[in-house]
């Protein structure tokens, strides 16, 4: 049964595929470590362990936010591509084009921040980009937005190619999503979970990126034609629709690694169920309409949208808990699990995702948001499911790939690196959450004395995370640049 093979033959990378995949992985790891160092610098500056001028702090903050969102998106798109290409014929040139657009966009963003001085945060909330108080020029703001547009074009090409390829095999996107089995009929167990998840992501993130493109173009026009003023609330709605969708798409692309890898390491089948199909179909709608939970403190918003934001925040969590996490735990239970690095990382990712959305869902309650919004509670919960959730999913695939080329996929370094990463990650996110619950604001370059203990504990956590991440990066990059195993040695492992 091919699904239970550890390294099935149809997953083997051709020479060109290897080059592109390696570019994605190595670039993502290098940028992630760099951006983590930016994060550490910010936390240490807040804790007064080092001195960073506010201007530099806010530039680092802008680069860290924009870079992390983009890079985790890039890395998780590699997860989706790696597994989806087994079922449909994806165009490698388009996957490579996504990488090129990303690099061009990243260069534009870095230049706008570190040369142009743009420090409008990754959310570039209008009208801040055109109200810099002479700290940056309109050109720097426009360059930042152009960078976003370039990255968006790359992702859109990738999703369009994925949708084209899935339509060619399955007839239409509804069939790829498995909609025909929602109300009855025998589910075809050979229909891949990867295809279901990829269809949902391709549809929703294309819509999110288009919303982002609209707001970016509007803002760029406004920079050069200020008389064409924008409605700040409309811009904020579009910005958060785009931002929320993009980062959630990263989770949904990353979780494909869980569906694909977990049954191979547990040795237990992971069957498709009607509940699974319902959860993905429901998530497709919910992920697009949940974004008003970012605007709960905008009292000018229509009341029904804020109520919808709260209720959908609760509902959006249900598929996660009841289907993916529950399914993963049921799959692992009494399985005789092979605890190799990819398996450990998959389970860590499920924990990070499930535990991280606890503080997130609570903050999606209007009366809670009134005292928690824009405190450090917010970076506390999103770092929880990004650092210990999505990043662990991506790392699981990377370790799985090097495992196919390495005699010893679990080196001593990994056995030390993983606990260091987990302990550091938990310390880091709980320092944020603890600070948020005592009302420490987020995005402050200078902190009061009473807030500094949280910053210092967070800094120690960040240092441990970076140490673990360096171990992973060295191991993965070394493993990737090795030649593929001779013959079918790796495949025999299954």
């Amino acid at each position: 049964m091919s699904a239970m093979q550890l390294y099935p033959a149809n997953e083997r990378l051709t020479r060109n595929e290897r080059v592109v995949f390696n570019l994605y992985v190595i670039s993502a790891l290098a940028v992630l470590v760099l951006l983590m160092l930016f994060g550490l610098t910010m936390r240490m500056a807040q804790g007064a362990w080092i001195s960073v001028p506010p201007r530099i702090f806010y530039e680092l903050m802008t680069a860290h936010g924009a870079g992390m969102v983009g890079t985790i998106g890039l890395a998780s798109s590699a997860v989706m591509w790696f597994f989806l290409r087994k079922y449909v014929r994806l165009n490698l040139a388009i996957f490579a084009a996504n990488y090129v657009f990303f690099v061009l966009g990243a260069i534009a963003i870095l230049a706008s921040v570190f040369i142009g001085g743009f420090a409008g945060a990754w959310t570039f909330l209008y009208p801040l980009p055109v109200h810099s108080m002479t700290l940056w020029s309109g050109n720097a703001a426009a360059l930042f937005m152009l960078g976003y547009l370039l990255i968006g074009v790359g992702f859109l090409l990738f999703y369009l190619d994925a949708m084209r390829a899935m339509i060619r095999v399955y007839g239409n996107l509804g069939r790829a999503l498995g909609l025909r089995w929602l109300l009855g009929g025998e589910i075809d167990q050979s229909h891949p979970k990867t295809v279901v998840a990829s269809t949902m992501v391709a549809i929703t993130n294309s819509i999110g990126i288009l919303a982002g493109a609209v707001v970016l173009v509007m803002c760029i026009i406004n920079i050069y034609f200020p008389s064409l003023g924008l409605n700040a609330l409309l811009v904020k709605n579009l910005t958060y629709l785009f931002g929320h969708m993009f980062i959630n798409a990263s989770i949904y692309m990353g979780v494909i690694a869980v569906y694909e890898l977990l049954p191979r390491y547990s040795g237990k089948p992971y069957p498709m169920s009607r509940t699974f199909l319902w959860s993905w179909a429901a998530s497709l709608v919910m992920v697009l309409i949940v974004y008003p939970h970012h605007l709960m403190m905008d009292y000018a918003m229509p009341r029904w949208m804020l109520v919808m934001g709260q209720i959908i925040s609760y509902c959006a969590g249900l598929p996660v808990f009841t289907v993916t996490v529950y399914g993963a735990l049921a799959n692992v239970y009494h399985s005789g699990m092979r605890w190799r690095m990819p398996a450990k990382l998959v389970i860590l990712s499920m924990f990070g995702w499930a535990a991280g959305i606890v503080p997130a869902i609570i903050d999606g309650t209007i009366s809670v948001n009134e005292v928690m919004h824009n405190t450090q509670w917010v970076p506390g919960h999103f770092h929880f499911y990004l650092l210990l959730g999505v990043l662990a999913m991506v790392l699981a695939l990377m370790y799985h790939v090097i495992g196919s080329r390495d005699e010893r996929p679990d080196a001593a370094a990994d056995r030390v690196g993983l606990p260091v990463y987990i302990i550091g990650g938990l310390t880091f996110v709980f320092a944020f959450l603890a600070a948020g619950h005592v009302s420490v604001p987020r995005r402050f370059a200078v902190h009061q004395l009473a807030w500094m203990p949280y910053d210092r504990i967070g800094s120690i956590g960040a240092l441990l995370v970076i140490t673990g991440m360096l171990v992973f990066s060295v191991r993965i990059i070394t493993g990737l640049v090795k030649s593929p195993a001779e013959g079918d040695r790796a495949h025999a492992a299954g």
């Binding site: 403190m297 000018a300 924990f351 005592v438 009302s439």
Partner: protein, 183 residues
């Protein structure tokens, strides 16, 4: 108990419960597969159904209890009985129309932004947030709050607004209601 403390405890319990569940399954994961999976599967389906139903009931109950009455004041018109404070956010200072209000009588902060988005957050004397709203150009958000304790309160900006964001603070006084003879 203030909201933040309740949220903190619920979060710790929730994350702890998730962690314990994972630890239990991880401990069990190393055990050999059960040869006859049929009763195991049936049990899992029942558990999953109850788990789903419990979450739905919990979600509906929490949504109902936290949305009625609706936690945000009506935005239609100024309150005729409240003490009105016009608050305007500028890069990087707050402009308040008055800096003294009376305890025990509702205060309405009519909040807007003159240049960019700001966040108007009221910090109590224990340095915790009491309430907040956004200060957005072109819109006025009406935040109503009744102070019970006299003293000095602080306003901080909670929406990133540029280089001086962290220094954008203001203070105002809440005085006892002499006529009513109580705070």
């Amino acid at each position: 108990m203030i909201v933040q403390e309740k949220v903190w405890i619920i979060t710790l319990l929730g994350v702890g419960l998730v962690a314990l569940t994972f630890l239990f399954v991880i401990v069990q994961a190393g055990k050999p597969p059960i040869s006859d999976l049929a009763p195991e599967k049936a049990h899992a389906h029942v558990l999953q159904r109850w788990w789903f139903l419990a979450l739905v009931v919990l979600g509906v109950a929490i949504a109902f209890s936290t949305l009625r009455p609706f936690p945000i004041a009506s935005q239609q018109a100024q309150s005729p009985t409240a003490q009105i404070v016009n608050a305007i956010g500028h890069q990087w200072a707050w402009e308040l129309s008055r800096r003294r209000v009376t305890a025990g009588i509702p205060v309405e902060f009519d909040v807007t932004g003159a240049d960019v988005n700001h966040g108007f957050a009221i910090y109590g004397q224990d340095s915790r947030i009491l309430a907040q709203t956004q200060a957005m150009p072109g819109y006025t958000n009406r935040l109503r709050y009744t102070f019970t304790q006299p003293g000095t309160y602080h306003v901080m900006c909670l929406e990133y607004c540029g280089l001086g964001h962290h220094g954008m603070m203001a203070t105002f006084e809440v005085v006892a209601d002499a006529q009513r003879g109580k705070p």
